[in-house]
Symmetry: D2
Subunit: 337 residues, 4 copies
C-alpha cells in the first residue's frame, strides 16, 4: 500500500499518521518524490481500513489494498474449483441443473417432481423444508419432516439433494443432505457462515438482493476461511426499481464472478424473475453467459404450491426447456447433466 | 376480498377456481354485476396469496387484502406505543437520543464516551459488542467482554444501554442490556425475530438496506406476533446507486411509518450516510421529519476507532449539535431527553 | 374501469365522486353488490388517473385501466413488427447484429471498422457523430462531419447505418441515415419523440437507466402515436448499486418486452456492462433470452478511442464471438445476419 | 496525476503508455521509487480518462484527477453564490419558498393559488406550462397560454415566477419568466443545457432520478461553463425499489452538495414523495438539513388538478406548514421569505 503525503503537510501531522499506522502489523518505509513524501506499507494489509487513512489531513491519496478476499480469489487460486456430489461433478466443463419445488409439501409431491425432473435431465433435487418467509403468517415449511421426505425422494431416485438452512440449530437435520443452501436473506448472517465453514459439505450460497459482487465474495470467504472449500455461488437477482419482475437478475455478475473467483457460479432464474413464463428464457441466458449451473423451481401443480407458485414451471415446461438448454451448453463446450 | 371473473370465462374454469379457493378457511359468495360474476371471500385472508389467484385465466382482477400485518398496524391500534426504559419514556412526545461508539473497545473508552454524551443530553448509551462485519478479517467485536464493559458504563452513568445481537445463542449475555438491537443485515433473520418475540425486553429493529417499508413492518410483526409488544423501528438508509454516501437515508420513511404504525420510529444518520461531517444535518432532518429519536455514533478518537470511524462524530461535535436538535424538537412539540 | 364504494360511505361524497368522474369522456353506470355500490366507467379511459380516484374517501378500490399504451401493445397488435432496412429485415426470425465504434473519429477509422465487422457478419454499422457526454469537457463528437464519414463507410461497404440524434435541430443531417437512435438519456425527451413520430424512418429507442419497462413502452408510444410504426426497443442496462459494471443489464426485460409488445427488442451489452472482456458473454445471453438483435461497440484501437474505449471490443474479439452467437441463434430458430 | 508502473513491467509497454499519454496537452515526468517507475502528468487533466489508463497492462495504479467540474466547485469558488430575482435574494442566509400548482390550468386558478401562497409567505410562484409527461395521452400543458397566465399572476401579485422549459425552441416564451426550470428528465439534455448557458437568467436545475451527485454537478457545469453563473440545484428524489413513495428524496444530498458546491441547493418534497400528507414533514426535513429553499406544489382543488394532484397540498395545509418551516429556518440562522 502506497500513501502519498500532501505537499507542504505539517511534519507533526505526518508523524501522527506514521504513529497511527504503526498499530498495524506492517513495515512502513518513507521516500520522497517530486518533493512529496511517500509512505509504503508492507505486510498483512487485510485489516487496514483505507477510508480511515484518507481522513488524515496530510494524506493526498492512498492506493487500494487490492482484493479484500484471499481464498475466493482466482488470482490466488487460478484453477477452477470442482465439487463432487454423489456421482456428479460440479464446475469446470459440467453444467448442472438443480430442479425441484420451492417447498417440500408431501412425500408424493416431492417424489413425483423428483422423478419428472430426473427423467428430463436434472441431476440434483431441490426442496425447501425450512422456509424463510417475509410474513409471519405465511407457510414456514415442514421443517425436519420435509427433510425426511427429501431423503426418501433421494433414495427413490438416486438424486443428490439440496435444501436451505435458516438457523444453525437445525444443522443436525442436514446430515444426509448433500448440499446445504444459504438463502439470499442470510448471505450476511455471518454467524451461520462461520459455522458452515467448520463442516465438510458443499454450500450453495445465494447472493443477497442488495449485495455487491464483492460483498458476495466476502461472504464466501467466511466459509472458505473456516476451512470448507466447497462453495457454490448463486446469482438470484438484485433489487431494483423495476416491479414487473420480482428482482433483476444481474446477468453480468456471471462472467464477472468467473473472472474474479475459481468457485462454481450458478444462477436461479425462478427467484430472480418470479414469472414462470420467462424462466426458460432466463435459464438459457444464464447458460449462455457462462454459468456452471442453474436452479429451477418445478412444481407439478403450481397453482396449489404452498409457496412461490407464480414462479414455478411445470414438469412439462421443464422437459420442453432442457434440450435447448443442453444445446446452448454444448456451444459453450459444456456438458449438461 | 373481491375477485371479478372475466366476462365470458368458461364455467368449468370458474368452478376450478372456486374449488381452489375453498382450501382457505374462508366463506365464498358469488353474485353477478353487468353480466360478470363476482366472488367475495371473507374470513382469515392473511394466508391468501393474491398473486396465485391472478394466475387463473378466468380472473379479471382481485382486490388486495389490505395490510398484511395486524399488530403493527395503526389502523388496528391507533394509540402510539410508548416504551419505558429505566426512567426514560420512548415515543409520544419524547425525542430520544441514543449515542455511543460503534464498537465497545475498552472500559475506559466506553465510560469516557458515555459520560460525554450524557453530559450533552443523550439518554441511552449504545455500543457494539457482537459485530456483524462484511469481511471475515475485520474486527468482530469484544463479544461478552464488550457487554460487561457496557454494563459497567451503565452503572457509572445510570444510562440504559442498547447493543446488537447477531445470533440467538448469545441471548444470555443480554440479560441486563435494556434494549436489544437487531441490525439491518438481520432484519429478515426470521428465526432470530421469532425468538425475540418470546422475550420481554424492547427490541430496536433496523430496516434492511434493500427492504421496503412493508417488509420492515412484517419483520416487526414477527416479534409482535410472538407477544413482545415493545418494538422500536429504525430507518438507517437504503442501498442506491449513489456512492458518495454509504447509503441513502429514506427520510420519507419516517412520516410514512408514523402513518402506518403506532410503533416508535427512530433513525440512524451515522450508518445511513457514513460521513461524520453531515451527521448533524441529517439528525436535524430526521427530527424535523417527525422521528421519535435518533441513534448517533460518537467516538472520542474516530481515527483510532476499531470500526466505522469515518462516520463517528466527536463528543465535541455531538455537544455542538444537541442544542439545535433540541430546538427543532421543541418546534414539533417534542421534548428531547 | 370498476370502482367499488366503501360500505356506509356518505351519499353526498359518492355524488361528488360521480360528478368529478363526469369530467372524463366516459359513461358511468352504478349497481349494488352485497350492499356496496359499484361504479363502472366505460369509454376512453386513457386519460383517467386512478391515483386521484383513490384519494376520494368513499372509494374502497379501483381496478386498473389495463395497459396505458395502445399501439405498442401486443394484445392489440399480436403480429411481430418487421422492419426493412436496406436489404435487411429486422424482427421475426432474424437476429440482427449492429456493430461499430462508439464515436466516428476519422474516415479511415470508420471504414476500417465497418469492413471488419461486415466481414465477421454484422449487418448494420453504428457510429456516434452527435455525442451526449456527462461532462462538458469530454469529446462531443464530430457532428455533421461524423455523419458524412458514416455515409462514406455506408457507400464503401453497402451496410445500412445507425447514429444517435441528440436534438431535433440536427434532423436534416440524418436524411440518409437508415436508423435514428434515441439514446438512454433522451428516452423521456418527449419533444424529440414527438418529432420522430412525424418522420418515416426506423427509430432505435434505448431504455433509460432509471426507467421501468412500462415507461419504456410509453416512450415508444409517443413515436407510434405520431404515425411512425418502425420502433426498435433496446435494453441497455439499468442503474443499480453494483459498481463493478457500468450498469446492470436487465436480461428479464427481453422476454418481458417480447410478451408485452410486438416491436423488435434489441440489447446493447457494451453500454450495459462497460467492460470489454465480458461483452461477448452478455451478447450470448441476450440472444439466448430471445432478443431480436444486439448492438456491439467495436473499435480497432480501443485504448485510443475518443469515447467509451473501456467497453469496446476489437475486431478480432468480434470475429471470434460471431460463430457462437450465430449458433445460439440457430438453437432458438433464428438466423443471424 | 500520478501513475505508478507495475514492478517488472516490460520497458516497451511503458514506452507505449508514455507515447499514448503524450496525446494530451500535458507534461510528463518520470522518477523511480522503491524500484518502481512513477509518472507525473501536469497540465489540463480535465480531458484525461483514467479508466483508459488503467487498461494498460503496465499500470499498477493511477490517482484520480480530482473533481471533474471547475466552475461548480466550492474548492475553486468558496463563496456562496447569491442570486437576485426581483427583490428576492436566493442563497446565503435566505430560505426561499417557491409554491404553486404543478400545471397552470386557468387564469383564475393560478391567480387564486398565487394570492394564497403569497399570503402564507411564499416568495416565488411556480406553475407548469410546458409539461413533460410519461404518457403521450396525458395532459401536456397549456404551453404559451400557460406562460401568459403565469405572467398575469406575476403582475397581480408581484411574485417572481418559475416555469419549466422542455425544448429550446420554446425559449422566446420565457422572456419574462424570472427563473427557468430544467426538469429531472432533462438533466442530461445537454443541448438544452448548452443553450441555457448562453442566456442570462437563473436556471433551476433538477436532479435526475437516476443521477449521482457528481453527474448533477457536471450538468450544472454545462450551464456555468457557458457563462451563465446563476444555477440553483434542486434535489427531487432518486429512484429506488421503495414503491410507497414516488421517489426517495436523498436528504444527504443536501449537505453533501453544500460542501461540494457554492450554488444554492433547493429540494422539491412534492415530486420526491408524491403523497400530499407527508409533504410538510419532508419540507421541514429539507430545511433542517440545510437547504436554501424548497419548492412546494399547492393546488386549490387537488382532486381536480390536471396533473400530479396526489402530491399537491391545499392552500390551507400550506398556510399551516409555514410557521413551523420558518421557525426551523430560524434555528439554522436563516430567514424564510
Amino acid at each position: 500500500m502506497i500513501i502519498m503525503i500532501r505537499k507542504g503537510a505539517e511534519p507533526e501531522k505526518v508523524e501522527a499518521l506514521k504513529q497511527w499506522l504503526s498499530r498495524y502489523d506492517v513495515t512502513i518505509d518513507s521516500a520522497y518524490i517530486w518533493g512529496s513524501e511517500v509512505l509504503r506499507m508492507e505486510g498483512d494489509l487485510s485489516k487496514v481500513d483505507t477510508s480511515l487513512i484518507k481522513r488524515f489531513d496530510c494524506v493526498a491519496m492512498v492506493t487500494s489494498t487490492g482484493e479484500p478476499y484471499k481464498f475466493a480469489s482466482r488470482r490466488n487460486f487460478p484453477e477452477n474449483t470442482v465439487i463432487r456430489v454423489g456421482n456428479r461433478v460440479i464446475g469446470d466443463n459440467n453444467f448442472t441443473v438443480i430442479a425441484g419445488p420451492c417447498s417440500v409439501e408431501s412425500p408424493e409431491q416431492i417424489r413425483e417432481v423428483a422423478q419428472a425432473v430426473k427423467t428430463s435431465g436434472a441431476s440434483i433435487l431441490r426442496g425447501g423444508a425450512f422456509k424463510p418467509r417475509t410474513s409471519p403468517y405465511a407457510f414456514q415449511g415442514l421443517k425436519s419432516r420435509g427433510i425426511e421426505m427429501l431423503l426418501e425422494a433421494k433414495k427413490a431416485t438416486g438424486m443428490p439433494i439440496v435444501s436451505e438452512i435458516v438457523d444453525i440449530s437445525a444443522l443436525p437435520f442436514f446430515e444426509n443432505v448433500d448440499i446445504i443452501q444459504v438463502g439470499a436473506r442470510n448471505m450476511q448472517n455471518f454467524e451461520l457462515l462461520k459455522e458452515l465453514g467448520q463442516i465438510r459439505k458443499p454450500i450453495l450460497l445465494k447472493r443477497g438482493p442488495a449485495n455487491t459482487i464483492q460483498e458476495f465474495l466476502l461472504s464466501a470467504e467466511y466459509i472458505l476461511a473456516g476451512g470448507n472449500k466447497d462453495v457454490i455461488l448463486c446469482e438470484r437477482g438484485v433489487r431494483t426499481f423495476e416491479t414487473l419482475t420480482r428482482n433483476t437478475l444481474d446477468i453480468s455478475a456471471i462472467p464477472m464472478l468467473k473472472k474474479l473467483t475459481h468457485l462454481p457460479v450458478f444462477a436461479d432464474p425462478s427467484h430472480a424473475c418470479g414469472i414462470a413464463d420467462i424462466v426458460p428464457d432466463i435459464a438459457f441466458a444464464c447458460a449462455a453467459a457462462g454459468a456452471d449451473g442453474v436452479m429451477i423451481e418445478v412444481h407439478n401443480d403450481p397453482v396449489n404450491a404452498f409457496s412461490d407458485g407464480a414462479q414455478s414451471i411445470t414438469p412439462a415446461s421443464f422437459a420442453a426447456m432442457m434440450p435447448k438448454l443442453s444445446a446452448i451448453c454444448g456451444i459453450l463446450g459444456k456438458t449438461l447433466g
